[in-house]
Symmetry: C2
Amino acid sequence: MSERHNTEMPFASPESTHWLDSIRWNDAGLVPAVAQDSESGQILMMAWMNRESLQETAATRTAVYFSRSRQRLWRKGESSGHTQRVISIRLDCDEDVILLSVEQLGGIACHTGRAHCFYRTLTGGVWETTDAVLRDPAEIYAEASDPEPVSSHTVMGQRVSGHSVMDQSTNKGGQGVEGKANE
Amino acid sequence: MSERHNTEMPFASPESTHWLDSIRWNDAGLVPAVAQDSESGQILMMAWMNRESLQETAATRTAVYFSRSRQRLWRKGESSGHTQRVISIRLDCDEDVILLSVEQLGGIACHTGRAHCFYRTLTGGVWETTDAVLRDPAEIYAEASDPEPVSSHTVMGQRVSGHSVMDQSTNKGGQGVEGKANE
């Protein structure tokens, strides 16, 4: 799955915007972006991008998403340190989905401390957790240079407290709100 | 990337619905579903699923999406013959994105005749086509057992005519309409 390009040059200069006009942004000005590990091929996560986040991603070769819950740019890794170095940016046939090939720093993309976000597998009508936590999120975010406000919050049916990551765990979802689930 | 499970059993019986309640459907009752080739790890496409399509997918182990443009179930391969045998169904940490591991029949997931839909790569501020057409879509859909109404339509800047696939090529997109881009 390895895909190598020149990793020094931006994919598009900050002044270049024509390529952004090809994209069919949704009513909220967003497109889904799938991040795939460039080495293993594992799907790490799916998040959303607005025009500004994609432009910054292309210019810096570092993944920047848009947090729907916080309505601001989400520089992946800004809290966790788990940034994503972008190897390639692809667009689908309908021009409304982005695919990033990335190098995942720290080998952990998910805010739960797992390698990727898709850690539950449907088995006999049950969502079974099939991927291990590689590192305690409390540890990951304790080292954060830019910690978020601390709170107590229920995540995945577990009550946890004492760190910000928990504020962002289940807010990406269905009803038009979203979050930086992986931060 | 190979991921093998028992390929005979459904992931959930048709009577089982509890697992569907865990999913955070959007306001339109949909979730994005990413399809990944179980052998190569290649990301084939992203489409949408409603509750019914996901339930059928789990019961039949064959990918069924929901066409936003046509507002009906889209049984992937119904026109092209390029069905997807589902190897596993995963859910992300926020319970609002589905990941399918699939075997792509015919080795072509995209309605353009390419292996996958992400055939354009951002290079120097331009979306460069980097993947070849493996088979002429006109051929693929000429063999369809269930052809759609024929029309002439502009696809990807090319005027083509004579087959239905063209009706569905660019309608998945941003403004809340969508289609079975791959059919």
